[in-house]
Each structure stands twice: as C-alpha cells, then as structure tokens.
C-alpha cells in the first residue's frame, strides 16, 4: 500500500553530506509533484559535528513535523544519538545504516525499529569519486518510489558547476544506491501526487522577506542574529534591485532606529531580529508607537529566555511582543499560521502598519523560518501604498496628530511643502508640540488606541475551522500540528473547532466571540512555559468560558500525536 506522507531523517557527521542529499531529495520530490518540509539539525559546534536532514514528503501540503520518522538513514553514526529526542522512531520505523560505520545508538534501537544494514561506503567505493551520501540518496529515492530521472536532473542541476567528472560520479553512486536491495518491499512508497498546481520551494524566512517586499518595504536595517539573519541576507542583494536600501547596523538599537528614520522619510521600513534583539528594541518601539510611525518588526523566535537555545524553536516571545515597552503602548502583533502564510501575513503586516501608522510585530519562529517547504505558488500581487498621505497643504495648517474619528491623521513626509512636523516621544498636542497637560495626554492615548480598536480587520484575523462544542486555539507554528491532530480526532468521531489566530493584537474580541459561539470549553495550545497566549486571552476577558492551557516549552516541535493524546483525554474529561 502506498502512503500519502512519509518522513525520513538523514544523519551523519558534518561533511558526510546529509544536507546536500536532503535538499536534493526534497527538490526531486517537489518537481515530481509532491509537497514537503525540510529542516536541519546540527550539533553545538559552529561548523562540522553531527548533522541531520529531516524530511517529510506528502501528496498534499505538509504543515507539521511528523509523529515519527518512517526511516532514519545514517551515513555514519558519529554522535547521532544526540538527536534521539528530535528523531522519534517507532516499531514500524526503519533504521538504515552502513555496518562498517558502527552500530546505531541504543537510544534509537530501543524504539523497536527494524535495522537494515546496507554497505553505503563499500558501494560508493565501486564508483570512482563516488560518495556514500549519494548512494544513500539512491536508496532513499528507491524506498519512496521517486522518479529516478527527476532525481538525476536535480542532482545534475545542483552540482553542475562542479564539472562533468563529479556529475558522473554522483550519477553512478545514485544508481549504485538504487540497485541495493530494498529493505521492506516498498512499504514507504509514496502514492502518486495529485495533478500539480504551480508551486514554490521556499523557507519561512524567505517567505517573510518576499511578503515584506510585496507589501512595499523598501528599507531594511538589521543586525545578524540566529535564526533571523537569513531574512536580511536574502534581502541584501535584492533590495537595491528594487531601488531600496539595506543596512547592517552596529546593533539592534541602531537597526530599529534606522528603520524609524526611514519610515519618517516616507519609505516603508522594516527590521528583523530574534528575541534578544527584540528586547533591545523595545525602547524605540515605544517611540514609534508614541510618534505614530509605521514600522514592521519581524521576530523569528528561538528558545528563551536570554541567549537560550539560539538554533531551536519556541513561542515564548509573545508577552514581549504584546507588552514590551514602558507605558501604555498598543501595537499590532501578528503571527503567520504556516510557512506558506508567512508571505501573506508579512505582507498584510506592512499594509496594516502603514495604514494604521503603528509598528507591526510579526512573530515567526525558528521552526517556521528555517524550514524549507513546498507551497502553492502565491498569486503575484503587490500592495498599494496604504499610508494616509496629506494632500497639498496651506501654510501653518498642518496638524500631524489631528484628532480624528478613526484615530488616523494624514501624514506628510520631508519634501512636502507646509507639511513640516517634529516627531516626538514626549507627550504632545495635535501639532506634535510637547505638552504635559492631562487633556493632551488622554486625547493622544485614546486616539492611538482607537485607531487600532476601530479598524475593520475583516476575516483575516484568524482561520476558523470545524464545529463542535469544544475549541482549540492555536497560533504560529502550533497551527500545523494541531490541524493534523484535529483531523485525526475528527476522523475518529470527535467534534472540535479550531481557531488559529493570525492577528494577536489588537485581539478581535467580537469576531473571536462569534467564532466561539456555542462553545463549552476552550483550550489553548502553544510551545512556551507559561501559556502566554492563554494568559493573554484571559487578560482580555474576550472568552466567555474558562481558558484552559496546553503549553510546554521548546525546543522540541509539537507533534500531532502529542496533541491527539492531550486533546482526546481533554475532550473526554
């Protein structure tokens, strides 16, 4: 029987080439019409050390890490045991390894998985210049039943620059791998993919960058930080091609300051960071809120607090995103609900930040940001300029912070005649002149709250799915595994609603209440210690029933089975 999804882990020491074959495998599968995810594990060493390529391939869009890996294929076993918790196996799994390269770790054999020994290195030695990783790729592609021609095309394209001899050696090694006996008679063969739609192969970090550009961002300042650096690195050559600017700042204080400066110049501006950088940015974030500056700030979350676990995922910056900075400072906080959605949500964030003259924080995470995914190609559409620009002005008439019903006041930019204004983080009056009068303070605070609370965000605030009297609320990277868990629970007869919140602040209280109408119980699923979203939802008082919480810290991704267990127990309580 062929399968609709399969999960493969490829492991080995640094230099064994597992990342190379992982990305070839994903691309070949993608070109054959499959969907898939590809993420990377590596040891604490800066370079080298143990490594693993984690793949999940399917006939429909894949948005969650798997419950178990169907196969762990190791080129060698150097420290692969360190990944034991990250590469879960079960009795039906397969461990494929080269007996010459040592024994699989106890921790992994304990799963009861079947061990199949294959002579990768010996087989590679039969080919001049052949490498064991290419042999393993041949084995895996055969296991999955992938089209060998497609795979060869991908291999040739990827290593083309290295010359004919290497291409030939790789091809031969690949074939040598395919000729090895299949361990389990085709149990891992994938079903044929559906008629493929146009698709992209992209990481969450790249999708954020593309979404930002589509939204109109033409100025980016950033300071390198794992796992956010790639957003900036991807943008570096591209922004100038679009007439934009990218600056590597001396630190995050400067990065966010530069972005606010560019935004003052009338150019949609962004900065990108991870938790430690966001902590450093909150003072200037408050300035941008007080002075009503459009700004997009992407936070690719990692394990926290402090330096935490830079290379692994967690959803623990929500509190800081919502509450970070002194004083009352409402802002936009959004989180993409999938890697594919990172593009659209980032783009929407730019539109909202510009329209509402306020910073928008986009919460991605390491898992979403650094995982490559096959997604349906997003239709090409660039956002219109949504900043409310003041028309031609009479001398001495312009009031930057005019009190309006919507809370939004027309904005000028340097160069606009008679539109001069001085941005200020001091409490100010409608003109922007500093004031410590209670009436100005109250009026401007109320205006800034009103523009957020009264804006019509439409239906995009969340994805609402299913029905039933119990509801699961998720955000960010917990949406995918929860969807999968709920699908299974529904298949086994449960009825559950799923609300995946995309717009976290301002919370759409009425829409949320409507989405939960008739619901008896609510549980919030997230990957952090405190249950930050659960607490926030309670704080707002928007949920009519007690808010329950299923929260646990990272760095391990949430897997559907963990949720199936939790939710089925919870549903029957």
């Amino acid at each position: 029987m062929s399968r609709s999804t399969v999960a493969i882990a490829l492991a080995g020491s640094g230099g064994a080439g597992v990342m190379t074959i992982g990305s070839m495998l994903l691309e070949a599968a993608a070109r054959s019409g499959y969907y898939g995810l590809f993420s990377r594990l590596s040891g604490p060493q800066v370079r080298g050390g143990e490594a693993a390529a984690l793949l999940r391939i399917g006939t429909v869009a894949v948005e969650s890490q798997p419950d178990y890996y169907d196969a762990l294929v190791a080129i060698d076993w150097g420290h692969v045991e360190r990944f034991a918790t990250e590469i879960p196996l079960q009795a039906t799994s397969l461990i494929v390894g080269d007996p010459r390269m040592g024994e699989p770790p106890e921790a992994m054999l304990a799963s009861g998985a079947t061990l199949w020994k294959l002579p990768f290195s010996e087989q590679a030695a039969t080919v001049r210049g052949g490498r064991p990783n290419m042999v393993a790729l041949g084995v895996v592609s055969a296991l999955l039943g992938l089209d060998p021609d497609e795979l060869e095309r991908v291999v040739v394209a990827k290593i083309g620059a290295k010359g004919e001899a290497i291409i030939e050696a790789s091809r031969a090694a690949l074939r040598a791998g395919r000729s090895l006996p299949l361990p389990d008679g085709g149990a891992l063969a994938l079903a044929s993919p559906a008629d493929p739609k146009p698709r992209w192969l992209i990481s969450g970090n790249e999708a954020a960058a593309v979404g930002a550009l589509r939204g109109g961002i033409r100025f980016v300042a950033g300071y390198p930080i794992t796992p956010a650096t790639e957003v900036v690195e991807w943008l570096a050559p591209v922004l100038p091609e679009l007439g934009g600017t990218l600056l590597q700042a001396e630190d995050e204080l400067a990065a966010v300051g530069m972005a606010v400066g560019a935004s003052y110049g009338g150019v949609p501006a962004m900065t990108v960071t991870s938790g430690p950088g966001l902590s450093l940015m909150v003072e200037t974030l408050g300035l941008a809120i007080a002075a009503e500056m459009p700004l997009v700030l992407i936070d690719v979350m990692r394990g926290g607090p402090s330096t935490g676990i830079p290379t692994k995922s967690e959803q623990s910056d929500l509190n800081l995103a919502i509450y970070g900075t002194h004083g009352d400072a409402p802002r936009l906080v959004l989180a993409p609900v999938s890697i594919a959605d990172t593009l659209a949500t980032t783009q929407w964030s730019v539109e909202l930040a510009e329209a509402l003259q306020v910073p928008a924080i986009v919460l991605s995470d390491q898992g979403m940001g650094q995982t490559r995914s096959v997604i349906d190609a997003p239709a090409l559409h660039d956002s219109p300029d949504s900043r409310l620009r003041a028309g031609p002005l009479e001398p001495d008439s312009y009031r930057r912070y005019a009190i309006t019903d919507s809370g939004i006041s027309p904005m000028t930019a340097p160069g606009d005649a008679h539109g001069q204004w001085i941005g200020d983080g001091l409490t100010h009056n409608e003109r922007g002149t500093p004031s410590s009068a209670a009436k100005d303070h109250h009026a401007q605070l109320a205006k800034r709250l009103r523009k957020l609370e009264s804006h019509d965000f439409g239906a995009r605030w969340a994805e609402v799915e299913g029905d039933g009297e119990v509801a699961v609320i998720t955000w960010g990277s917990t949406v995918g595994p929860t969807r999968e868990a709920i699908a299974r629970l529904v298949a086994s007869g449960h009825r559950l609603r799923h609300v995946a919140i995309r717009l976290l602040a301002p919370l759409q209280r009425e829409a949320l209440a409507a989405a939960l109408r008739g619901v008896r119980r609510v549980i919030v699923v997230e990957v952090n210690q405190a249950g930050q979203l659960a607490q926030y939802l309670r704080a707002t008082g928007a949920i009519p029933v007690p808010v329950e919480s299923h929260a646990r810290p990272g760095p391990l991704p949430l897997r559907p089975r963990e949720l199936v267990e939790t939710l089925s127990r919870w549903c029957s309580q």
Partner: protein, 276 residues
C-alpha cells in the same frame, strides 16, 4: 535642487513659533541662531531639511526650527538620521544633540556613524554636563568637577570626541562656539557642502549647572589655519589640543555615499527563483 525661482530665504524662515524651554543665556540659543542663518545661506527651503535629535536640553532644538524633524529617544539621533538620509538622500539631514546624548548613551552610534560616512551633519552642543537631568557629569566633564552624583569628582579621563571622530573615519571635523553664531553658521554651511559625515563639536555653555562656562568666551581662540587631511596628524593635533580652538580641523577624502539605486528588476523577476 536650488530652484532658481525660490524667493531669497531669511534665517527667520527657519524658526518655528515654539518657545524654547531653555534657560535664559543658555548656549543652545546660539546654535539655533547659527543653524537658521546657515540654512538661509544654503538656500534650501525648510521642508527639504530635517533636524533630528535625541533627548536633553540641546536635543529640544528641532521643534524650534521650521524644518521637518524628530526628537527621538535618548542617544539614538544618529541611527534615525542615517536611516532617514539613506532612504531619502534628497533631504538635507542634520542631527543635533548634547554631550550626554551623543558621547555617553549614544557613543557607539557616533563611532559607527563616523565609519559609515553617510552624508549628513552632526552638531553636538557640548556643555560638559547633563543639563536636562540637572547636573551630572558627561563624558567630556572635567575629572575634578564636583556634583551630587560624583561628590569627589569622577576622576575619569574626559572623552576627546574630535580625536575619536578622526580615528573612526568622520570626513569633516570642526569645533564651533555658540558665542560666535556667525562663525558657527559658516562651519555649518561648509559641513553641509562637504561630502560624507561632518561632525561639529560646539562649545555651548550651560549657564545653570556650569555657570563658570560663561568664561569660555575668553578661552576660545582660532584653531588651525588650514584643515588637515592626514588622519594620523589630525589625531595627534587633536590629542594635544586645549579644547578651545575653533574652526575646521580635518577634511577627509572620502566620497559621498552613493544615491539610491534605481529599481532594475521587478518582483516577478525576483520571485521566479522559488518556482518549481
């Protein structure tokens, strides 16, 4: 840029109607006067100028001009200015602030602005004190100055900002005195004209917390006859300088940062790489 049809500009065209909060006699009035005179001379209208600052008495200056501008957070005037100028090279950007704002909390941005050499002018009103918070030592304060927070003086080596600027790569370095607003205006005009990052250190007395600075008018004297162009020599001169010479000390050879590139590709083009 200078449309020939522009009416002749007057310094008062660059003044706003906001009343300064400064103490009577504060040196910063002289900087405001110099800046408005310089702006009139440069000839660009107020809407093509942006004056940005951090926090401090001196940092209140932008609101007293009729230009665009920003009174941001303490110490971050330069990142803001660099972001603005990089996004809008057509605008004249002038960053202003105090010695606390620029050399204490903002010291790192100062160093890196010198390196980055974006085409803007940075004017520091140095009064060797934190005026706004009522009298604490700044990085340029004399080590034996007594105040509440340092009852025995700081005992610290005062910072020499002009030497740092030359070492870090600033392209124009001058010292002015607020007691001579015309002289200061001339420095500002030259700084605007010179490419890259231009730094003007201004002796600007705080009459309230450093009343002895009223004597600075006797201490200032003409600085170097000609600006130097060799960084090593300029650094040596500045390190043995008495701190009261005015004029242009250094003009470098670094070129103006490039203007914004024109768009050369479309999003469609750029996105193609993701398509399978």
């Amino acid at each position: 840029m200078n449309a020939p049809t522009l009416p002749k500009l007057d310094p008062k065209d660059f003044k706003s109607d906001v009343k300064p909060i400064w103490c009577p006699g504060c040196g910063d009035f002289g900087v405001l006067a110099a800046l408005t005179r310089a702006s009139a001379q440069v000839g660009r209208p107020p809407e093509e100028i942006a004056v940005v600052s951090g926090i401090g008495c001196s940092s209140r200056l932008p609101a007293y001009t009729s230009a665009y501008g920003f009174h941001g957070v303490h110490g971050r005037a330069l990142p803001f200015a660099i972001g603005l100028k990089s996004a809008r090279p057509d605008i004249e950007v002038i960053a202003v602030g105090g010695d606390g704002d620029g050399y204490s909390i903002g010291g790192n941005h100062f160093l890196h602005a010198c390196r980055r050499n974006v085409d803007l002018v940075y004017i520091v009103m140095d009064n060797h004190v934190y005026g706004m918070t009522k009298g604490q030592p700044s990085p340029t304060t004399e080590p034996d100055w007594i105040c509440n927070i340092a009852p025995a003086g700081t005992g610290l080596h005062p910072l020499n900002p002009m030497t740092l600027a030359v070492a870090a790569g600033a392209n124009f370095i001058a010292r002015g005195f607020t007691g001579d607003p015309n002289g200061l205006a001339r420095l500002i005009v030259e700084a605007i004209a010179w490419p890259g990052f231009a730094f003007i250190e201004v002796l600007s007395p705080c009459v309230t917390f450093r009343p002895e600075q009223k004597d600075w008018k006797h201490a200032v004297h003409a600085g170097p006859a000609e600006p130097l162009s060799d960084r090593a020599r300029a650094a040596a001169v500045l390190l043995s300088d008495d701190g009261f010479g005015t004029g242009i000390f250094f003009k470098g050879e670094r070129s103006r940062a490039h203007p914004l590139p024109a768009a050369s590709r479309t999003m469609d083009d750029i996105e193609r790489r993701f398509a399978l």
